[in-house]
C-alpha cells in the first residue's frame, strides 16, 4: 500500500452553543492515498463540511475546539503555525466550494485572482502568471481564455465560475483537492461537464480528491472509496463497489432506497423516519437507532464501534453483516415493527 497522503485520526470538532457544547465531528478517522478519490456522503449537519474545513485549517479557533490529529504529507496540520499553513493552502492543499460566486471576489477580474495565487506561491512575475493562468483556463475548457481572463466573475455563468474555481485550485498542482458539493448549485447538464472535467484532470495530474456530496449518483460515478457520515461520526466506510452492492449500515440502506430511480417508479421510497439528532443532544446508544427500523434494546443503550465487516468494509452497526438481518426478514413471523 502506498504511503498515506492525508491521515486524519480521531478528529473531534466542538462548538460552544446556546444549548451546550455541540459536537459537530466526533472521532472521525480516515486516510487518503495519492491520486485517490474519496467521497464523503451524508445529509445536512452530519459533519462532512466541518471535516473538510478542519483539514483546510479554515475553522476559526476559538470558537471551534479541535482534537485529534490531521497529518498531511507527514506534517501535523493542527499544530502547524498559521504562516506555514497559509503557505500550504492554495499550493499543496486546495479547496473548491458549492457556490462559486461567493468564493470569487466580485471586485477583481478572474485573471487578477488567478495570478495572485501564482505570485504568492510560485514567485512568478505578473506576465508569467498571466500566461500560466490562461493556460490553466484552457485546461478547464473555458472558451477564448485570452479574453475571458479579463472578465469579472458576474459576467460568467455558474458552470464557468465553477471552472474558474477549479482552475484556481489546480494552478499550483496541489497534492490534495477538497471539493465541497462542487456541482450542487449547477444544472444537470453543466454538472455532467464539471464532473467529467474533474475526472480527466485527476487522471492527468494524479491529484487526490476529497469530494463532499449528498448525491449518491455523483458518488457512484466518481468515488474510489466512500465514507458515510451520520451525526458527526463515520458510520460506514468501503470501496464504491462494496457500498453499492451491499451496504452494511442501515442508514446507507435507507439513503440508497430514498433516491428515486430514473429506471422506474418505485411503489414507495424508503423514507427514513424522523430527524437527525441535535448535535448537543445525541442519543445514548447508536445515533441512528431512533430512526432505524431494525434497532433493538442493545442499539438504544450501547454505542456500536466502527468495525470491519468484510475486507476493507467497515460499519458502525451491531447488526452487521446485514445479510443475516435480511435473511431473518424472510421468516414470516419476524416482520420487523417500525420502531415506535
Amino acid at each position: 500500500m502506498t504511503e498515506a497522503l492525508l491521515r486524519v485520526d480521531e478528529l473531534r470538532v466542538r462548538f460552544p452553543s446556546d444549548t451546550g457544547i455541540a459536537t459537530a465531528v466526533d472521532g472521525v478517522s480516515f486516510t487518503l492515498t495519492p491520486g485517490e478519490l474519496l467521497c464523503i456522503v451524508g445529509e445536512s449537519g452530519c459533519g462532512k463540511s466541518v471535516t473538510a474545513l478542519s483539514v483546510m485549517g479554515l475553522l476559526a479557533r476559538p470558537p471551534a475546539m479541535l482534537d485529534g490529529r490531521i497529518r498531511f504529507e507527514g506534517r501535523d496540520l493542527l499544530s502547524m503555525p498559521p504562516r506555514e499553513l497559509a503557505d500550504l493552502r492554495g499550493d499543496r492543499l486546495a479547496m473548491i466550494f458549492q457556490e462559486p460566486m461567493t468564493s470569487l471576489n466580485p471586485a477583481f477580474t478572474i485573471g487578477s485572482q488567478l495570478c495572485e495565487v501564482l505570485v504568492r506561491h510560485r514567485d512568478m512575475s505578473t506576465a508569467q502568471a498571466r500566461a500560466a493562468a490562461i493556460d490553466m483556463l484552457r485546461q478547464v475548457r473555458i472558451p477564448a481564455p485570452e479574453q475571458r481572463i479579463d472578465e469579472f466573475p458576474h459576467r460568467l455563468s455558474g458552470g464557468m465560475r465553477q471552472r474558474v474555481m477549479i482552475a484556481m485550485a489546480l494552478l499550483c498542482r496541489p497534492a490534495l483537492l477538497i471539493a465541497d458539493e462542487p456541482t450542487t448549485a449547477l444544472d444537470v447538464t453543466i454538472q455532467a461537464q464539471v464532473l467529467e472535467l474533474m475526472r480527466s484532470l485527476r487522471s492527468q495530474t494524479r491529484t487526490a480528491i476529497m469530494l463532499i456530496t449528498h448525491d449518491l449518483g455523483v458518488v457512484a460515478e466518481m468515488a474510489d472509496r466512500v465514507l458515510v457520515m451520520y451525526a458527526g461520526q463515520v458510520v460506514e466506510q468501503a470501496s464504491v463497489a462494496q457500498i453499492f452492492a451491499m451496504p452494511q449500515h442501515p442508514y446507507t440502506v435507507g439513503l440508497l432506497g430514498a433516491i428515486p430511480a430514473l429506471a422506474g417508479r418505485r411503489e414507495r421510497l424508503a423514507a427514513i423516519d424522523g430527524l437527525v439528532p441535535a448535535p448537543t443532544a445525541q442519543p445514548p446508544g447508536c445515533r441512528f437507532a431512533p430512526r432505524c427500523p431494525f434497532a433493538d434494546m442493545r442499539c438504544r443503550s450501547e454505542a456500536p464501534p466502527l468495525s470491519e465487516v468484510q475486507d476493507g468494509h467497515w460499519s458502525r452497526c451491531w447488526k452487521a453483516p446485514l445479510e443475516q438481518l435480511a435473511e431473518s426478514l424472510l421468516q414470516p413471523a419476524q416482520t420487523p415493527e417500525p420502531q415506535g
Binding site: 445529509e43 444537470v188 455532467a192 430514498a258 428515486p260 430527524l275
Partner: protein
C-alpha cells in the same frame, strides 16, 4: 368527513374535462436595457406552452434553470398575469375571473413552494396559518376550525401540538408538511408544487414525496409538479413536459418518455443524470456549452446551438409539437431520423437482500412516526 374531500368538488373530477387546461400560455417580461432604460427588450419566459392536468394525476414540468418552468407555476396560480393564452379550471375561465369569483377558484387551486420557510409567516402560529384558508374560503364553521386544523396536521403527519408553535421551531421537512397542510385546508383539487423537495435532504425528500403520493391517492388530488430533478419527476409524474427556453420540447406519458425520449434535449438531460450504481452510465459528456441567454434565444429551434444533430434547417425553422407513435409529442424537425438512445439497463437488478432491508424503511406505517415531540 375527511378533512379534504369535498363531495361537491369530487363530482367535477369525473368525466373527461381536465382539472387544469392551459392553452398557448405566453409570458413576456420587458427588460430595461442600459442605464437610462432605453429600448426595452423582451424575455419570452414562457412562449406558447400548452398542457392539461387530469384529476388524481400528476403532470410534471421539468427543465433546467431559466427554462420558464416556475413562471408557468406562477401563471397558473395567477400570481402573475399571462401576456396571452387561456387557462381553464374545470372548464371555467381562470383568467377572466376576478374578485369573489377568483377567490373561490383560488381555493380550488393551491400552491406549495421550494422554500417552505419563505412561504410561512414567521409571526403566526402554525395553527393560525392553517386556519386562515379555512376562514377565507369558509370551509367549516368557525367553531369547527380548531378541530379541522388538528385533522389537517394529522393528515400531514404532525402532532396536534404543532398548532401552537411557530414555523422557525420546525425543520425543513416539517415546514414543508405545514405548507402542505395549509394548502390542503382550502380543499383544493389541484396543488401546484414548485420544486417542493429541492431544498430537502434525500431522506426527508423521500418522506415528502411519499406523503404527496398518499394524499393524492386519499383525496384524488391533481398535482402540477415543477422540478429540475428528473429522478424525482420519474417517481411522481403520470405525464410530463420537458421545457427548454420557454417552450415545451417534448411531452407525453412518463413511462414512455423516460423509456423512449425522442427530443435530443430530453435524451441529453437523461444521460446527464448521475446514476447511483457504479459503472451503470456510459460516461459521455452529454452536452457542450451553456443554456443561451433567454434575452436572445437562438433562432429556429432554440436548442440547435447545443444539439449534436442540428442541421441548417434547424437554424431557421421553428419546430412545432408533433405526435409520436408512442403517445407523446415532440418538437424536433428531425425526430423521425434520429436513433433512439440505446435502452441501457441503467440500474442493475437490485440485490434481493438489500431490497428486503429497504422494504422495512418503506413501510407506510412509518409515515406517521415523524410526529414532532
Amino acid at each position: 368527513m375527511s378533512p379534504v374531500g369535498n363531495p361537491d368538488l369530487r363530482k367535477h373530477a369525473t368525466g373527461d374535462t381536465p382539472v387544469l387546461d392551459a392553452v398557448n400560455l405566453v409570458k413576456h417580461f420587458p427588460v430595461q436595457q442600459g442605464l437610462f432604460g432605453g429600448s426595452a427588450a423582451l424575455v419570452k419566459a414562457v412562449d406558447g406552452v400548452s398542457f392539461a392536468v387530469r384529476a388524481g394525476e400528476t403532470f410534471a414540468i421539468v427543465g433546467e434553470s431559466g427554462c420558464g418552468k416556475s413562471t408557468v407555476a406562477r401563471l397558473v396560480t395567477r400570481l402573475i398575469e399571462p401576456t396571452a393564452g387561456s387557462l381553464r379550471l374545470h372548464g371555467q375561465d381562470l383568467l377572466q375571473a376576478d374578485g369573489a369569483r377568483l377567490r373561490s377558484l383560488r381555493g380550488r387551486l393551491q400552491m406549495i413552494f421550494q422554500d417552505p420557510y419563505g412561504s410561512l409567516n414567521p409571526r403566526m402560529t402554525v395553527g393560525d396559518m392553517i386556519a386562515e384558508p379555512l376562514m377565507l374560503h369558509r370551509v367549516v364553521p368557525a367553531a369547527q376550525r380548531g378541530t379541522r386544523v388538528c385533522e389537517l396536521l394529522d393528515v400531514v403527519g404532525l402532532r396536534a401540538e404543532a398548532a401552537t408553535r411557530y414555523a422557525h421551531e420546525f425543520s425543513g421537512g416539517q415546514r414543508q408538511r405545514i405548507a402542505i397542510a395549509r394548502a390542503l385546508a382550502a380543499q383544493p383539487e389541484l396543488i401546484v408544487c414548485d420544486e417542493p423537495v429541492s431544498a430537502l435532504d434525500v431522506s426527508i425528500q423521500a418522506q415528502i414525496l411519499n406523503l404527496l403520493a398518499d394524499l393524492q391517492r386519499q383525496f384524488g388530488l391533481a398535482y402540477l409538479f415543477i422540478s429540475h430533478d428528473l429522478a424525482v419527476v420519474r417517481q411522481v409524474a403520470d405525464s410530463l413536459g420537458v421545457m427548454y427556453l420557454g417552450r415545451i420540447v417534448e411531452t407525453g406519458p412518463s413511462a414512455q418518455l423516460f423509456r423512449t425520449p425522442r427530443h435530443p434535449y430530453t435524451q441529453a438531460l437523461l444521460s446527464a443524470v448521475p446514476v447511483p450504481a457504479p459503472g451503470a452510465r456510459a460516461q459521455t459528456t452529454a452536452l457542450a456549452g451553456d443554456v443561451p441567454s433567454p434575452l436572445a434565444p437562438p433562432t429556429g429551434c432554440h436548442f440547435h446551438t447545443r444539439c449534436p444533430h442540428a442541421i441548417e434547417r434547424c437554424r431557421s425553422e421553428t419546430p412545432s409539437l408533433q405526435a409520436t407513435p408512442d403517445g407523446g409529442m415532440v418538437a424536433c424537425l428531425r425526430w423521425q431520423q434520429l436513433p433512439l438512445p440505446r435502452d441501457e439497463t441503467r440500474a442493475p437488478a437490485p440485490n434481493p437482500a438489500l431490497a428486503r432491508l429497504q422494504a422495512a424503511f418503506a413501510a407506510p406505517s412509518g409515515l406517521k412516526s415523524d410526529r414532532i415531540v
